[in-house]
């Protein structure tokens, strides 16, 4: 199992209080299924500092949600085998007792989910759900304190007339307002780590823009470490400082947002970039899909997990891609890591991929 620390300082920063707030090392999550063990996350390492945003990109089944739920300790311990290390604010949470885990969850780390209509309980008022989240970590607080806090949070996330809307049920809110309420609930205990799992996927673009604005404002205000999980590279471009690209449970590329989205060095990332159209791109840009389907995790491909769908494996001598898993090795830029056998991927990207998918960009760089 290859595991490369994400940053040079990461390996030693655990003991240092002002190191990365979240540090994941060599994380592996396996579920027993009727068809055999299913390893959803393999050898994953990353870290997020306070005030920074990490974007995790990948398709369904890539392990992006599973790894974040492992951080939150949301997997059923009876059915998920988790190994490796996850340190939140210096506390190792892998193997932590349920009682201690519970005191962290929703308190120093919180998660907001994609579909707020499904993620909020339909039978309880918005206010009651916020109050519950507050009270469980503030045993000394009175009901009235909790209600005041709930109204304050709803006001903070931009819900009009919060003192009245606090007594509404989730179905009485619009989609955007529900997501705001969900964010308010996540932030009610002032967490240092916020994980947003596809926070805007179900929303309209103008509402999405409002929610992204809000998340960014709140991050500045609370100085929290944020993980944003999404398949939308546009959201990543505008929100994230660093990006982790996942494929079949592994990190396949890691770097700053600029590195990943302007000079990617892994064919899967190229595929993602070439398969989404852009509102401002040239109309001569081709839409080049990634062939095939995401692999089955029960029977993952040998060697590089992406090789069955990779259209650049002819650039690697022999059948290295089929036989050997490439290590996560440094790419051209500082801190930029990629998992690929191609000798000079940045040249391939510039000379082959870019002319097809963004001919206008090439003009500019010349």
């Amino acid at each position: 199992m290859t595991s490369v620390p994400v940053t040079q300082s990461a390996a030693t920063a655990a003991e240092v209080v002002d190191g990365p707030y979240l540090q994941v090392e060599d994380l592996q999550v396996t579920f027993p299924t009727e068809d055999g063990p299913l390893t959803a996350v393999k050898g994953l390492s990353y870290s997020v500092e306070k005030g920074k945003t990490l974007g995790i990109v990948g398709e369904s089944g890539s392990g992006k949600s599973v790894s974040s739920m492992a951080v939150m300790g949301l997997h059923d311990p009876k059915s998920a085998q988790i190994s490796g290390s996850i340190r939140v604010g210096g506390t190792e949470v892998v193997g932590l007792s349920e009682a201690r885990m519970r005191s962290l969850r929703g308190n120093s780390m919180a998660m907001i989910f994609q579909d707020a209509l499904a993620a909020l309980h339909p039978f309880y008022k918005i206010g009651a759900q916020l109050e519950e989240a507050y009270l469980v970590h503030h045993s000394g607080a009175s009901k009235r304190d909790a209600r005041r806090k709930a109204i304050e949070m709803l006001d903070r996330v931009g819900i009009p007339q919060p003192d009245r809307r606090v007594d509404d049920f989730p179905h009485q809110f619009s989609g955007g307002m529900r997501q705001r309420a969900m964010i308010a609930m996540g932030l009610v205990n002032d967490p240092s780590l916020l994980i947003a799992d596809e926070p805007t996927t179900a929303l309209d673009v103008t509402v999405q823009a409002q929610i992204l604005d809000l998340l960014q404002d709140l991050q500045r205000e609370f100085n929290s470490a944020v993980i944003i999980i999404t398949h939308d590279l546009g959201v990543i471009a505008e929100m994230a400082d660093d990006v982790l690209v996942m494929y079949a449970g592994r990190c396949v590329e890691y770097g700053t947002t600029k590195q990943i989205l302007t000079s990617p060095e892994m064919p899967y990332t190229w595929g993602l970039l070439s398969s989404i159209p852009d509102v401002t791109a040239s109309t001569d840009a081709r839409l080049i899909p990634i062939p095939g389907n995401p692999p089955s995790l029960l029977n993952p491909p040998t060697g590089c997990p992406f090789h069955p769908r990779c259209v650049h494996s002819d650039k690697v001598p022999g059948d290295l891609c089929v036989t050997e898993l490439p290590a996560l090795t440094p790419a051209t830029g500082p801190g930029h890591l990629k998992r690929c056998h191609i000798a000079d991927p940045s040249a391939v990207y510039r000379t082959e991929v870019l002319p097809e998918i963004a001919p206008e960009l090439l003009e500019e760089t010349r």
């Binding site: 939150m72 949301l74 349920e98 519970r102 005191s103 962290l104 969850r105 929703g106 308190n107 919180a110 998660m111 989910f113 579909d115 499904a118 993620a119 909020l120 309980h121 339909p122 039978f123 519950e132 989240a133 469980v136 970590h137 049920f169 179905h171 969900m182 609930m185």
Partner: protein, 335 residues
């Protein structure tokens, strides 16, 4: 809400009217004269052409709509009924006079309601008392050996016909093992007058109903609970750091109860309308047994009264279920 209830009650009255009409017509146009059984009984099976006297006094030679109109009038203002040469006063709301006992049907119905209600309430209480907690426990241990054993053994019990199950209960507990508590079954006194007699007479009936019903409620609850626990809002509750007890009961069970309550409302209504097998096997003088006897004896007024009674009970229980549903689930609006 008020308008909804009024609307439902109006349609309920309509249903009851149709039920009473349907029974009237079925007896009227049935294969033998409705007067035949009573004539046979009164004349010690030498009815012969005396049947005409009975038909005439009971009005079976009149057009059917006239007789139905008389019946309806009796319900609202009372009437005097004549069987052979005897007159019977029947005050409003008159449901007729039993052809078998010559007693006013209304009085007998009222005297039998407490027995049936006692059986129903006790049985239904046991449904919930055991069914829901066992179902929740099974759902929490979903997939474990205990869960699988429980589900399959309960499925086995559920697949026995109820009358056989009740009969076996009675045979073994009362006859074979002669357990003192179960030695004598029946409805002996109202709870207010002799609580112990009331309790001991009904206890076996409750046990039989309760065990049989709770196997089904365990399965309902387990299914609803498994579904509720896989909802996104359960994950949210967990992410908030709530203790698992709160997650399971406050968030999970609250949602799972909605379908269970719906089924329970209908079941409870059915029980209140009379439990034929239970009352017959455990010799409880309730409405179920009475209606069975009435059908066997072609006792039209009693059949009619018990059918109307069940219709009313079912309509009310359905309405209550809908109201409870709207209280449990704020997304449901009655309209």
């Amino acid at each position: 809400m008020f308008a909804y209830v009024v609307k439902r009650l109006i349609s309920g009255v309509l249903v009851v009217t149709l039920v009473s009409m349907a029974i009237f017509l079925l007896f009227w146009y049935g294969p033998s004269s409705p007067a035949q059984p009573i004539c046979d009984r009164e004349t010690s099976n030498r009815c012969g052409n005396k049947i005409e006297i009975y038909e005439k006094t009971l009005g079976y030679n009149n057009p059917v709509h006239e007789e139905y109109a008389k019946f309806v009038k009796g319900v609202f203002v009372g009437r005097t009924l004549t069987i052979a040469s005897n007159d019977y006063e029947c005050s409003a709301p008159c449901l007729g006079v039993s052809f078998r006992t010559k007693e006013p049907v209304k009085e007998e119905l009222l005297s039998r309601v407490p027995a049936t209600f006692s059986v129903a309430i006790g049985g239904a209480f046991l449904y919930l008392l055991f069914g829901i907690p066992i179902g929740v426990a099974a759902a929490r241990r979903r997939g474990s050996v205990a869960d699988k054993a429980l589900v399959s053994s309960f499925l086995f019990i559920s697949s026995i016909p109820y009358y056989l199950f009740a009969l076996l209960t009675w045979l073994y507990l009362t006859v074979t093992f002669e357990i003192p508590l179960f030695s004598n079954t029946g409805y002996f006194s109202p709870i207010t007058e002799g609580p112990w007699a009331w309790f001991s007479g009904l206890f076996l009936a409750w046990v039989a109903l309760g065990i049989f019903g709770c196997t089904q409620y365990t399965r309902f609850t387990r299914g609803a609970m498994v579904e509720a626990l896989s909802e996104d809002y359960i994950r949210t509750a967990k992410a908030k750091g709530l203790p698992s007890r709160t997650i399971v009961y406050k968030h999970g069970l609250r949602a799972a109860l909605v379908p269970v309550v719906t089924i329970f409302g209908i079941d409870f209504g059915t029980l209140l309308a009379g439990t034929i097998f239970t009352e017959r096997i455990f010799e409880i003088q309730g409405i179920g047994w009475w209606s069975l006897q009435a059908v066997q004896g072609m006792d039209l007024p009693v059949v009619q009264a018990t059918a109307i009674f069940s219709a009313v009970i079912l309509i009310i229980s359905n309405l209550l279920v809908d109201i409870v549903y709207s209280v449990l689930d704020p997304r449901v609006r009655l309209s």
